[in-house]
């Protein structure tokens, strides 16, 4: 076992939430008892980040991601528990590392580099690279207060990645800046991964987690909800978000008709999770009516890992109707040929009224299957291709 680069043990962070925060002594004296309630932004958070791995921190707004990142960076001190890190940390929190608006870009680079632990001579050597990376050659000698937010972030990122950190903490930074720069940052992050540095990422962009991270942690209301394989954690995150967003949850409905069982299997009838492009997939749903319901619609939908809606249909569109639905039924949707090259697909199944005014029961993305990417099939979709050659 190697020593983890970051070890977070039982960390909790309590914030005081003042109804109206007394920022002056007078207020403090006048209001004899200050009305403050404690608010735990983090509680019992434990995780380890092995050296050289890339961890994605995801979670809804206010779940404590940034707080955790700041605690790892040492900017905030935990109320309880402890954090142990090894090696130099460069943290990139949203919108620029601490720059002083009155100083020029050049002066700020030196100031920042020294805060990140570089000597003047070392910074001298790196200076041109930093400016080049940030693409700010023309503006490096003007005051930072005249910079756009994009320039700000670029310079911050450039400094942080050039100071040779063992641990890089990134908070939503990649969301800023134009596409070209984002790509550059991502390339740099990849290079860091190859060099065996440890990276912790906070992001809303779930696809970045899937692209870049080899581990992920889901935070919700200050506690770790899930950690491990990014695909799994991202899925949990999406379920969580859906519970928040949707009127009905991921397993909800009026239950006049109930989804009893859902099965996914291949053409051979055997239950499966892995398929190859072009194969057939059967989605089988067992339904039970608790009261007779007229003209229900049974549907399914597929979402990919980016949570984009890929495909869906229902019995009505397939030309089949239930005038009155009573008792138990087994329905099957057969997808005759999978048009996907690779990835994980999440299956939503549901029963609802024709005008969708009533949802009887829905299982939101509770099921999934993988399509195995064949190296011989690059691209996004699977198109069966015939190849022919003949002498002319």
């Amino acid at each position: 076992m190697t020593v983890p680069a970051i070890e977070v043990a039982g960390v909790g962070k309590r914030f005081r939430r003042y109804r109206e925060r007394p920022t002056s002594l007078k207020e403090r004296l006048i209001r004899f008892r200050v009305t403050a309630d404690d608010f735990w932004a983090l509680r019992e958070v434990s995780l380890e980040v092995p050296e050289g791995s890339t961890l994605g921190l995801i979670g809804p707004n206010g779940s404590g991601k940034t707080t955790l990142l700041k605690i790892i960076a040492g900017i905030l001190r935990p109320t309880e528990g402890s954090v142990r890190t090894s090696g130099r940390i460069a943290a990139l929190l949203a919108l620029g590392a601490g720059f002083h608006p009155e100083l020029t870009g050049r002066e700020n680079v030196y100031l920042n580099a020294s805060i990140l632990g570089l000597s003047r001579q070392q910074t001298d050597r790196l200076f041109d690279d930093i400016v080049g990376f940030a693409e700010l050659e023309e503006f490096i000698d003007s005051q930072v207060k005249f910079y756009s937010s994009g320039m700000y972030v670029r310079l911050g990122f450039a400094v942080a990645v050039h100071v040779d950190p063992a641990i890089l903490l990134v908070d939503e930074v990649l969301a800023v800046g134009d596409e070209g720069f984002q790509r550059k940052c991502l390339d740099k992050v990849r290079a860091f991964q190859r060099e065996g540095r440890t990276i912790v990422f906070v992001t809303h962009a779930v696809h970045q987690v899937l692209q870049v991270c080899d581990r992920a942690v889901l935070l919700n209301r200050g506690t770790v909800q899930a950690q491990g394989d990014p695909g799994e954690v991202v899925r949990d995150f999406r379920l969580l978000m859906m519970k928040k967003d949707l009127a009905y949850g991921w397993d909800q409905g009026t239950k006049e008709i109930e989804i009893v069982n859902v099965e996914i299997f291949g053409a051979d009838g055997a239950s499966r999770e892995h398929f190859r492009p072009g194969e057939a997939v059967v989605i089988q749903i067992d339904l039970k009516a608790n009261t007779p319901v007229s003209d229900p619609i049974i549907s399914f939908a597929l979402h990919d890992q980016q949570n984009d809606f890929v495909f869906g249909t229902n019995n009505d569109w397939r030309g089949s109707r239930f005038p009155v639905f009573e008792g138990k039924h087994r329905v099957q949707f057969t997808l005759k040929s999978l048009p996907f090259v690779g990835g994980r697909y999440y299956v939503t199944v549901g029963v609802h009224a024709r005008d969708a005014s009533r949802v009887y029961h829905v299982h939101e993305q509770r099921y999934w299957f993988d399509v195995k990417l064949g190296a011989e099939n690059p691209g996004a979709v699977w198109i069966p291709v015939e190849f022919r050659a003949e002498p002319l």
Binding site: T23, S24, L76, A91, A97, N112
Partner: protein, 286 residues
């Protein structure tokens, strides 16, 4: 101890922060560093007017006397004013990157030291014109006084810096206190006068002059004056003697300032602990 080592490894940050402060201070100003030198000159003009012309209370080589105390005082008050705002003004650093937060109030002291250096040029100029003897033994008091001053200033600096994050009125309170403090410290009036007035009176059995010396800045400033001005008393016509400085022995004064230094170090230790404790929450309170 560990924190001390961490602090030592962050010297570069300290230097850069001081550089930053100085740069920011004089950015977009035409006269730049001259402003720092103008401050004591202006004080000198005002107090010369008040004492020599209005009050007719001549002190020999008044510029040297005034500046030797004033410079020490300026170092103290500038440090504290800057320190009280140091964490708040550097919010964008504090909330974005980690570094030992103690550096912020210390950089305020450093910035004030740069000012001190500039103002010292003015003082030295006056000392040279007044024919000061640079080989005097009293000069040995200077490093000790400086050390005590820096320790005391750093301790209070950390304290106000930390407090001001939560209670912004610290800085206002500080400015008022500094004003009052200035006048209970023998800077514009001669400590010799105070000595003559207070050493014969008692309050609850304590010599009033000793009570006066309870102000650490009084001892420190007296140290600076003794070292740089040096003339304790001189005879005037009528056989009387005018005491400019308190007629205490050099050794006694050194002991006194040494005591201040030791006390300040202790205070610094405590202030540091308080500051460190408070600093864990800086990022969220800004």
């Amino acid at each position: 101890m560990r924190r001390l080592r961490e602090l030592a490894s962050s010297r570069e940050i300290l230097a850069n922060l001081v550089r930053k402060e100085v740069k920011v201070k004089y950015k977009s100003s035409v006269l730049g560093a001259l402003w720092s030198m103008l401050n004591p000159v202006l004080y000198l003009a005002v107090f010369t007017l008040v004492f020599s012309v209005v009050l007719r209370n001549d002190i020999r080589d008044f510029p040297v006397y005034l500046l030797s105390g004033l410079l020490a005082w300026n170092l103290f008050s500038t440090s504290l004013s800057l320190a009280s705002r140091s964490v708040v003004d550097n919010a964008n650093l504090v909330t974005k990157v980690y570094f030992p937060r103690e550096i912020l109030p210390l950089s305020s002291v450093g910035t004030a030291l740069v000012d001190f250096g500039l103002q010292a040029l003015v003082l030295v100029a006056f000392m040279v014109t007044s024919g000061y003897d640079f080989t005097r033994i009293d000069l040995l008091l200077l490093p000790l006084s400086m050390f005590a001053l820096l320790a005391f200033t750093s301790a209070l600096g950390m304290w106000v810096a930390g407090l001001n994050v939560r209670y912004r009125d610290t800085q206002h309170l500080l400015n008022l206190s500094l004003l009052a403090w200035f006048w209970v410290t023998p800077i514009v009036y001669p400590s010799g006068f105070v000595y003559t007035e207070l050493s014969s009176r008692e309050f609850l059995g304590i010599r009033l002059f000793d009570l006066y010396l309870a102000n650490p800045m009084a001892s420190v400033v007296m140290g600076f004056q003794r070292a740089l001005y040096g003339t304790v008393s001189y005879p005037v016509e009528g056989g009387r003697e005018v005491f400019v400085l308190a007629p205490v022995s050099l050794g006694w004064l050194a002991l006194l300032i040494g005591g201040v230094a030791v006390g300040s170090l202790l205070l610094l230790f405590l202030a540091w602990r308080t500051f460190f404790h408070l600093s864990g929450d800086f990022a969220e309170e800004l």
